[in-house]
Symmetry: C2
Subunit: 335 residues, 2 copies
């Protein structure tokens, strides 16, 4: 039976498995170093749809279909659809839930959604509440830019610390019946707000949340970073990753050798418009469920700790002078 470990963690037992997964990506992501790990790359940012928002929905639904297909799951075998995204009222997830027709848990964790959805799915399966659950997330550069910042047509010049929202979607079937890797442990984050107000500096806003969750994970499970072959944050980017390492070193941890950030892995470093790296729900989504899952299944990585990071502000709260609260959720994947 699953057991609470320490203050914020759970050891899942029986271990739920990532039985199947799929990752689809947009044009720019499809030119990056991980292009071979995506199940589908769209050549067109609109994916043949009439709007960026509709394109994002199509990508999410495609990722779900592919995840089911790759694992030979029928929709009827899926007890719950668990999904969240960045758009107001998480409409990408809600409309996709209508299309899928499965009982739906909608969640919001901004760019931490992948780990949140995997946690939730893991809990449902480990607790016997579901045989299989479909956990998914998506983001789109253009829908996110126009909602959170400026319409892309405006051509706003972005500061160096800004990150680039990943266009794509990822979905995983979490199942009691087998597969690999297992979701062995989860650490659910507290929301941390150290007063950052620059919405172009989300890596800096999220780094303290990532540090909080990581330190709690190590303490709760009495583990050191070297328990894992790789510890990967969601989308701290260049600025946030450096801050995270500085924060961890204050507590005596120096995981540089086994640490990376999905936002630093997904794009070709020669694309200068990317700024400080990738971001968005799909950033850890497609890197973990596309790239890292392949490496785990090929035996290159055995134990991976995924720490997806999210900034929980809105344009309204920023306009009202509030700072940016952030959260990070961790899931341990083990072969």
């Amino acid at each position: 039976m699953s057991a609470r470990a320490g203050k914020q963690s759970i050891l899942l037992d029986p271990v739920p498995f990532v039985a199947s997964a799929a990752a689809v990506a947009g044009p720019l992501e499809g030119q990056g170093p991980l292009k071979g790990d995506f199940d589908l790359v769209y050549g067109d940012l609109r994916a043949g749809q009439k709007s960026f928002e509709a394109a994002e929905r199509k990508m999410l639904q495609e990722a779900c279909s592919l995840a089911l297909e790759k694992g030979s799951f029928s929709l009827e075998q899926i007890d719950y659809f668990i999904s969240g995204d960045l758009l107001n009222q998480i409409t990408v997830s809600g409309y996709s839930a209508a299309a899928l027709g499965r009982p739906y848990f909608g969640l919001y964790g901004a760019c931490s959604t992948l780990a949140l959805a995997l946690s939730w799915g893991g809990i449902l399966v480990a607790g016997g509440f579901a045989g299989s659950a479909l956990a998914a997330t998506a983001s789109h550069h253009c829908s996110a830019e126009r909602q959170f910042r400026y319409p892309t047509e405006y051509g706003f010049q972005r500061p160096e610390q800004a990150q680039w929202t990943v266009t794509g979607a990822a979905a995983a079937v979490i199942s009691a019946a087998g597969g690999s890797p297992g979701i062995t442990a989860i650490t659910t984050g507290k929301v941390v707000d150290l007063g950052e107000k620059d919405s172009f500096s989300l890596g800096a806003a999220m780094a303290p949340a990532a540090a909080s969750t990581l330190l709690m994970h190590f303490a709760d499970l009495e583990r050191n970073p070297d328990y894992y072959d790789l510890i990967v944050t969601g989308d701290l980017g260049r600025v946030g990753s450096q801050l995270l390492l500085a924060l961890l070193s204050r507590s005596g941890y120096y995981p540089e050798q086994r640490y990376s950030d999905c936002g630093l892995m997904i794009y070709n470093p020669h694309f200068h418009e990317i700024g400080a790296g990738g971001s968005g729900c799909a950033c850890s989504g497609v890197v973990v469920l596309g790239h890292l899952l392949r490496r785990m299944r090929q035996g290159e990585l055995h134990k991976v700790l995924v720490v997806s990071t999210g900034a929980l502000h809105s344009t309204t709260t920023l306009a009202q002078g509030e700072s940016i609260p952030a959260v990070a959720h961790a899931v341990a994947l083990e072969m």
Copy 2:
């Protein structure tokens, strides 16, 4: 141990309890027939804050504090904070999570949030993943109006079928340790979209989702409506409630005598500006955790089925010509 029942339901075992709860309400709600059932009524829509959004946050945090206080719970006893609201990026919940400092599950189900949060808290406690969880939600008439429709200062004349977003917040401590009532069963809804596009007619958009979840609940648990003393929907209002009863009667159910809607209970019927009834996350929030919980604990009601209903559109999707998907989640409360 908990068991899946039928297609969309779970019988929770061991039964988690609503150990403590609180409901706070705005000025108009405090003049309605349920005013004596709220723990706190604000005389001022701004609750002394600089914005409606900040007022909504204050109300949510006050409801949480009161729920903890009434049950003599310390914050440290709360393993998870589970919350959602209507505002973009559920910032009321996210900023409150930062203030509370507990591990946070953010969820989005629009006005279905109460039942969603109680479901999720029930699962965590029944499955042994948490000893106690704090489930909460909030809404505010003015923050919702300006986000979804028009700023209230504009004085837009609302059509008759429009509903009035409830100002208030509600929170419940769900605990394994005891209390009453128990959360005995949950039915998680599918998203239903029959093509309604009028954002002033959300009751009509949500009624088919409520019917879907209710019919599935009856089938899954092999129960008739008369199993319950009261079946209460969240915020269908006058129009949606009539539609729901018509839809249920097609399947041979006539629960009129034991059915009501929180949106029809909360306001003084002489307030003509209310339109077709109350709505918003706080509608089922304060009616269930304020009014109905009192009636259950006083022995007037023993078995209540709460079916919170939510419309999952955004202003962007409506502007793009999309219809309004809706969802309803059910939780059975039993003394």
